[in-house]
């Protein structure tokens, strides 16, 4: 293949349910694939994004025009598989340059059966999505725009589907990393045990907990409170994940049973579920928050943090129980970004303090979680 490969690639279309059509060339796998078309403004981290379970059921557009520059490798994967349904880019390179790269982005998508489309005016697409809101769409190489549109119109909307069941683990497992042993506790006590309720967890969450000396167990989304507590956790983390929390009655119930019985940290979808426990409903944002530059203001310190975000739904703070306090707000649109229980060790964040991709500015929240975990453990040990 010559260096100028674009004309050698098959034509492809991105067809939106509202009838707008973008022409480009096919990258990744052949065929067609459908999903909610969303965009992320993160300038790096395409592989982390592709493998982020929160993107399940979605076709991801990257606003930065050059993708694939540093290739792909397993260490950048946030889950075992590519989660997006399709990938839309301005330009995808077959000439990556990075010492860790083992495969081009194109080959990576192709091998895992994920269709993509390149040579799209992604800025025009983003402008369209920002003004009309996110919309269902399809990347296709094997049908006309009319055929694709007809198919799309018969399809259920993303918001009505529960993707958590697809991305959560089937069985509980201990998260371990090769070559990285758990650091021993300074007082010789067993490591804190954190149970992660897997709604679509990213590996980096578990990595960061391990780095803090925790034994980490991920459990399926269907696990009830008593089963979780039977694992004798020192803390529970409700993970991020795809879709609308209003579809997750069972997770909400399980969470309700955990409050007051163990320290809890909720991230993203986990935050929204905890919001539900305390009376808040959720609503769908017009085009969501997806990117690595979202400013969040801590209402107590006044400090602003740059956060990594990936969500289409948000917590409606209006009907929150007085027992929880809104501690953080999005600086741009005022969405609820953090909750804190006034008496129990429960706090949540809408954004991804685990980064990957994105800034590490709020990684300290894992330390805050660990502090409440250790404090409680020590006081309970002292009480014994």
């Amino acid at each position: 293949m010559s260096l100028l490969h674009t004309s050698e690639r098959p034509p492809a279309l991105l067809v939106l349910a509202d009838g707008r059509v973008f022409a480009g060339v096919g990258v990744g796998a052949a065929g067609h694939s459908d999903g909610e078309v969303v965009f992320s403004t993160s300038m790096t981290g395409y592989q982390e994004a592709l493998t982020d379970p929160s993107f399940r059921g979605q076709i991801l557009t990257m606003t930065f025009p050059l993708q694939g520059n540093y290739g792909t490798n397993a260490s950048m994967e946030e889950s075992a598989t590519i989660q997006v349904r399709g990938f839309v880019v301005r330009e995808m390179t077959d000439l990556p340059s990075h010492w860790r790269s083992i495969e081009t982005l194109h080959a990576y998508l192709e091998r895992r059966g994920i269709p993509g489309i390149a040579e799209v005016d992604t800025r025009a697409l983003t402008r369209h999505l920002r003004s009309r809101g996110v919309v269902m769409g399809t990347i296709t190489r094997d049908e006309t725009a009319e055929q694709a549109l007809a198919r799309l119109q018969a399809m259920p909307d993303y918001a009505t589907l529960d993707y958590v069941a697809e991305v959560s683990t089937d069985a509980a497992y201990d998260f371990e990393e090769p070559n990285r042993l758990l650091a021993p506790q300074s007082d010789g006590s067993p490591p804190p045990h954190i149970v992660v309720l897997d709604l679509g967890v990213k590996r980096n969450i578990m990595r960061l907990l391990r780095q803090r000396g925790c034994q980490v167990t991920a459990v399926p989304h269907t696990t009830d409170a008593e089963t979780i507590l039977s694992l004798r956790p020192d803390g529970v983390l409700l993970s991020p994940g795809p879709g609308d929390p209003m579809l997750l009655d069972h997770v909400t119930e399980a969470t309700r049973g955990l409050i007051g019985r163990t320290p809890i940290m909720g991230i993203c979808l986990g935050h929204q579920v905890i919001g539900r426990v305390f009376g808040a409903s959720s609503y769908k944002l017009k085009f969501g928050h997806r990117g690595a530059n979202h400013p969040v203001r801590d209402e107590i310190t006044g400090k602003v943090y740059i956060t990594s975000q990936n969500h289409g739904f948000a917590v409606d703070g209006d009907h929150l129980d007085a027992a929880v306090q809104v501690t953080q707000l999005h600086l741009n649109d005022g969405t609820v970004e953090g909750l804190q229980h006034t008496s129990e060790p429960v706090f949540t964040i809408q954004y991804h303090s685990e980064a990957s991709p994105g800034p590490n500015d709020t990684e300290f929240l894992f330390d805050r979680f660990m502090t409440s975990v250790r404090t409680l453990r020590e006081s309970s040990r002292g009480g014994r």
Binding site: T41, S42, T44, P65, Y70, P178, V304, N332
Partner: protein, 1087 residues
């Protein structure tokens, strides 16, 4: 606790434009003043540079154009009593002065609070040892280095640093005497050389990071400890080349997310540790591959080691670039933070619905390329290293890297040096070491099938970039081999190929390619720089071209006019033209016309998004300007008028192509412009008007040149027509020299070569404004140096001190009649030589040159006379006469002040460049001294330009025979002022003959000591007067070492007897000088 908001703030500008400190600080200072006004804070600005926008009356509340010294600043502080000092927007000059003011106890004495950066922070970032300690304390890696002063210490140092090691002698220029040692033998050789080369025998040994990636982060922090990154940038050139001399790409292209954030984390940690409230730039080296650091790849390590290289605790050239690359106004926000605002309390002026507390998301690629002065200094050392050599830079934006790179190359305005250029004497495998030509050498290597890995390996340029360049070459081959089709042409345009280059490759004419594009509907669309990758609707119309589907810049419905900017800062075309462009945009707005700005220079005020109503960041060539005018014409087909008068030669050169394309020009017509620039046509007009000019002719062959010179008599001035800044201009003494220089002039390829009689006498310059009926002359400027020194390198005095009334009248009369005859609509600049001896029957005023455009003296003259020259010219273009604007014909009444404009050079940065003043311009910037008397004004100009010498200073004199007689009075003055004199053979004899003690030092470097170089390098003499005569060859033979060594020791070196005389008069009779706001000198009552 938030400190109280100051009521008044003193802002220090960065002074004259020099290499390493250019227009970016005008941009920063102007933004800071704007920010102060928005915050309701009184701003007091001081800068010595009159060519800046920041020193314009509307910008700060009080403006001082005074030398940037502690004494002057103390007088300003005593008078204005500011609450606070903001030193972080005036480059290194600003920071250094803040430290000096602090150390002199002045800040304490007047209770002035320092904003933005503390003294501790400034010192931490500047002092190598303190900085290393800080980094060690916070756990950030920095390259190992040791300072040694002997070979023994150097041997010990090697155990700590290891090989390869970088050897950097202290206080040598451009790294002279240093190098990289790979073996013990090399180390010994280089180290011993280095110890010798350093005047203080001090050498820094440093761990070699050559070949590592170089990255920069622009970060900000507010008083509440909120920290953000504005932009990261990746240097295409690896470590080893100064970042100001590197091709820079934003955002980084080859970093993974983890690497990007690893360095971002480090940058934020550093700004926190330094406690900066404002902006800061952090430079990193990142290992590109495990083998480079001899580091075993393991499964668990995802990131390679990095080192922190440098921190600038202030806004910088990089932050100006980052501002333009992202749309985020770093200087404005930094100024607001400095006075106590929090990031989230500052509005994002681009979106107007978000705040400054966020990180810009780019959805395009930005490429910056430096603009080096080697087109002017052909003899200069083109090697790039740790000493910056570029005078300016260009930036281009596109949705592809290749497109941005190619547009940036076009923006350099190197004429024939397109993407296809190759040096004719390159060997089969072109040299890939770091020079200004490397990007072309890489392309040439790819064309010659040098393996890409080899190119990357030898140059250290990341394979990603090399492969992108290979795509460009692949497209060249395709264009050479295949017929143009709509698909191929579109693909070539996506990769940034100019019509001109496509034409060359596809064997067409550029206009044919353009016609094909029109036929096939292949036109650029314009996308917006909006800080947020289209996530939010933005209101700021800041556009770049790309070949894609959706156009975001529909033509405006209001009447609009395009102002062409002046492109990159270069010698001969400096910040003055940016001043004019900015004023023009504002004048249009005041007149209710929408202003559209086009420019390619990221440093400037003109490319600030709120200077004009619409900004196109584009190359200033025919293709781009026509494309954007067609975009503005829209379906109506009526393009806005274009102003070509304010953007220097860059803009005026567009007159002809625009006219040929039937695009309308505002102001003087293309024909008027040609009339002034075409030697033959202009000569005819002068003859008809009976206005004298030195005899001469435009010639095309050597034979014509020789016969012309014979007819008019030597010495003659030889120069190509249509060039800037006197490039390739020579005073030629005889036929032999003429033969030698004629070729050089012809090689400029601009048509005819002009041969004129060289008349000796003072040079005088005027700027005039004409509406077709009335001609206003705001002022006359007299040069201190005689004709022969380029006007841009001369000291100029307003009002003139030596003209007779008859001469002045002749100047006004000639200027008026020429402006009317040329049908000038707008500005015109005329240069005269006053040579009464050559005209026994007349006033002795000869026209040397007319430029039908704004000149570099427009900001100076506008400021000292108070005549808003650019505004008047713009209004004339809009149809308002001078009379309607309240101005009448003739010379504007002289103001009750004396202003001296003095040039400033950057010679210490350019190894191997001779510093003597001649017809070819060499200065990079200017300063102004203004006062009530000539003596005080000259003294201030000398202080501000670094040429001031005081009584008792030891001088070295080496004078040409012609200047000896003139020098006698000067020598007596020096002696009386207690200056010890040293002189070369002939000059010493002259001085002895006057009965004045003198020490003879030989200029023959191999005949005993002390010689001239010894006394300069040892610091025995602190100033040099070295006059020379004859053509360039003679000049270079004579005294090159004297001048070069004086430059390297940074002591004043006078090569014109006229400048020396002015300096010695100031030394012998030091007038007390005033320190006042400019407006007080100009419009106030003289005390």
């Amino acid at each position: 606790m938030r400190p109280p908001k100051p009521a008044s703030v003193l802002i220090i500008g960065s002074g004259p434009i020099i290499i390493g400190q250019a227009a970016e600080f005008d941009y920063a200072g102007t933004q800071a003043c704007k920010a102060m006004r928005e915050e309701g804070i009184r701003s007091i600005l001081v800068n010595s540079n009159p060519a800046t926008i920041m020193t314009d009356e509307e910008v700060a509340d009080v403006t001082y154009i005074e030398p940037l010294t502690v004494e002057v600043l103390e007088r300003i502080i005593a008078r204005e009593r500011p609450d606070a000092l903001l030193p972080t927007l005036g480059g290194q000059t600003g920071l250094n002065l803040a430290v000096e003011l602090h150390e002199a106890g002045i800040l304490g004495k007047y209770n002035v609070r320092l904003l933005g950066s503390s003294i501790r922070t400034i010192k931490l970032a500047e002092d190598r040892e303190l900085f290393r300690q800080l980094l060690t304390d916070i756990g950030e890696p920095t390259p190992v280095s040791v300072i040694v002063e002997s070979w023994e210490a150097a041997q010990a140092a090697l155990d700590i640093v290891g090989l390869p090691a970088v050897v950097r002698p202290a206080y040598t220029l451009g790294g002279t005497g240093g190098g990289i040692a790979h073996s013990l033998e090399e180390y010994e050789r280089i180290m011993k050389n280095g110890l010798d080369a350093s005047p203080i025998s001090q050498v820094l040994v440093e761990q070699s990071l050559l070949g590592w990636k170089e990255l920069e982060y622009e970060v900000m922090r507010d008083g509440n400890d909120t920290c953000i990154t504005i932009c990261n940038m990746e240097n295409l050139d690896p470590m080893g080349v100064h970042t100001g001399d590197s091709i820079v790409v934003a955002p980084s292209q080859t970093l993974s997310d983890r690497e990007y954030h690893m360095l971002r984390n480090s940058a934020l940690k550093i700004i926190r540790a330094l406690g900066i409230e404002g902006g800061c730039n952090v430079q990193f080296a990142l290992a590109p591959r495990p083998d480079v650091v001899g580091w075993a790849e393991s499964d668990t390590a995802d990131c390679l080691p990095y080192h922190v290289i440098e921190v600038n605790p202030r806004v910088s050239r990089s932050s100006a670039l980052a501002s333009k690359a992202t749309g985020y106004p770093i200087a404005r926000v930094a100024a607001k933070i400095a006075v106590g605002k929090r990031l989230h309390e500052v509005e994002n002026a681009v979106t107007r619905r978000t705040t400054a507390a966020f990180e810009p998301a780019l959805d395009y690629v930005v490429v910056k390329i430096p603009r080096w002065p080697f087109d002017k200094f052909a003899g200069g050392d083109r090697t790039l290293g740790t000493q910056m050599k570029a005078t300016g830079e260009v930036m281009a934006i596109d949705r592809t890297f290749e497109g941005a790179l190619q547009k940036a190359i076009r923006s350099l305005e190197f004429g024939s040096r397109t993407i296809l250029w190759e040096r004719s004497d390159w060997p089969a495998v072109p040299p890939l070491d770091a020079t200004d030509e490397r990007i072309w050498a890489v392309l040439a290597s790819i064309r010659r099938h040098v393996p890409l890995e080899e190119i990357s390996g030898r140059s250290g340029i990341d394979p990603w970039f090399v492969e992108r360049l290979a795509r460009i070459v692949e497209m060249e081959r395709t264009l050479l081999a295949q017929d143009l089709t709509p698909l191929l042409l579109r693909e070539a345009k996506r990769l940034g190929f100019a019509d001109r280059d496509i034409a060359t490759l596809a064997d067409r004419l550029p206009d044919q390619v353009r016609a094909l594009r029109e036929e096939w509907d292949i036109r650029p669309v314009y996308k917006m720089v909006d800080t947020c990758a289209a996530e939010f609707d933005a209101v700021t119309p800041y556009f770049y071209s790309t070949y894609e589907d959706e156009n975001e810049a529909p033509p405006t419905s209001r009447e609009s006019v395009l102002v062409l900017g002046s492109g990159p800062i270069r010698i001969g075309q400096g910040i003055e033209f940016d001043y004019c462009s900015v004023r023009a945009a504002r004048a249009l707005q005041h007149a209710g016309i929408e202003s559209i700005m086009a420019n390619s220079n990221p440093e400037t005020v003109s490319t600030d998004y709120d200077t004009s109503d619409r900004l196109y960041f584009e190359p200033l060539d025919e293709e781009s300007v026509r494309d954007l005018l067609e975009n503005e014409a829209g379906d109506s087909g009526e393009a806005p008028r274009t102003i070509v008068q304010f953007g220097g030669q860059t803009a005026i050169n567009m007159a002809k192509p625009l006219n040929n394309a039937a695009l309308p020009i505002a102001g003087s017509s293309a024909d008027s412009i040609d009339l002034a620039e075409d030697r033959g046509r202009f000569g005819q007009i002068l003859a008809e008007l009976d206005i004298p000019q030195p005899p001469g002719a435009a010639v095309h062959t050597l034979e014509e040149a020789l016969s012309t010179a014979d007819a008019i008599g030597y010495p003659v001035l030889v120069r190509p027509s249509y060039v800037l800044g006197g490039r390739a201009m020579e005073v030629v003494q005889d036929a032999n020299e003429l033969v030698r220089f004629f070729g050089a002039a012809l090689a400029e390829n601009t048509g005819a070569v002009l041969i004129d009689k060289y008349l000796v006498g003072p040079e005088v310059e005027v700027d005039a404004i004409c509406d077709g009926v009335t001609v206003l002359i705001p002022g006359i400027m007299e040069h201190i140096e005689r004709a022969g020194v380029h006007s841009g390198d001369s000291m100029a005095v307003y009002p003139p001190q030596r003209l007779t009334p008859e001469q002045r009248d002749a100047i006004v009369d000639y200027t008026t009649r020429m402006a009317l005859a040329l049908q000038v609509r707008g500005l015109m600049n005329v240069q005269f030589v006053i040579a009464p001896a050559a005209a026994p029957n007349g006033p002795g005023v000869f026209v040397i040159e007319v430029n039908p455009r704004s000149s570099r003296t427009v900001p100076f003259l506008s400021k000292v006379t108070g005549v808003p020259m650019v505004d008047l010219a713009v209004n004339i273009m809009l149809g308002r006469s001078l009379l309607e604007q309240g101005y009448s014909a003739g010379l504007w009444p002289e103001r009750n002040l004396v202003a001296v404009k003095a040039p400033v050079f950057s010679m210490s940065k350019l190894v191997d460049v001779d510093t003597f003043l001649g017809p070819e311009m060499k200065s990079t910037g200017e300063v102004m001294g203004v006062d009530y008397t000539f003596g005080a004004a000259v003294r201030k100009a000398l202080i501000a330009s670094g040429l001031h010498v005081t009584a008792g200073t030891p001088f070295l004199l080496s004078l040409s025979n012609q200047s000896k007689a003139e020098a006698v009075a000067m020598i007596r003055d020096l002696h009386e002022a207690g200056c010890r004199l040293y002189a070369t053979e002939g000059t010493a004899a002259l001085i002895e003959g006057l009965g004045i003690p003198v020490e003879m030092v030989t200029k023959r470097l191999n005949e005993g000591h002390p010689n001239v170089v010894d006394v300069i390098r040892a610091g025995t003499v602190k100033a040099v007067i070295n006059t020379v005569e004859g053509g360039r060859a003679a000049v270079q033979r004579d005294g090159f070492h004297i001048r070069r060594n004086a430059t390297e020791m940074r002591i004043p070196c006078f090569t014109s007897i006229d400048t020396a005389r002015a300096a010695i008069q100031a030394l012998a009779h030091p007038d007390a000088y005033e320190v006042r706001p400019l407006l007080e000198y100009r419009d106030g009552v003289r005390p």
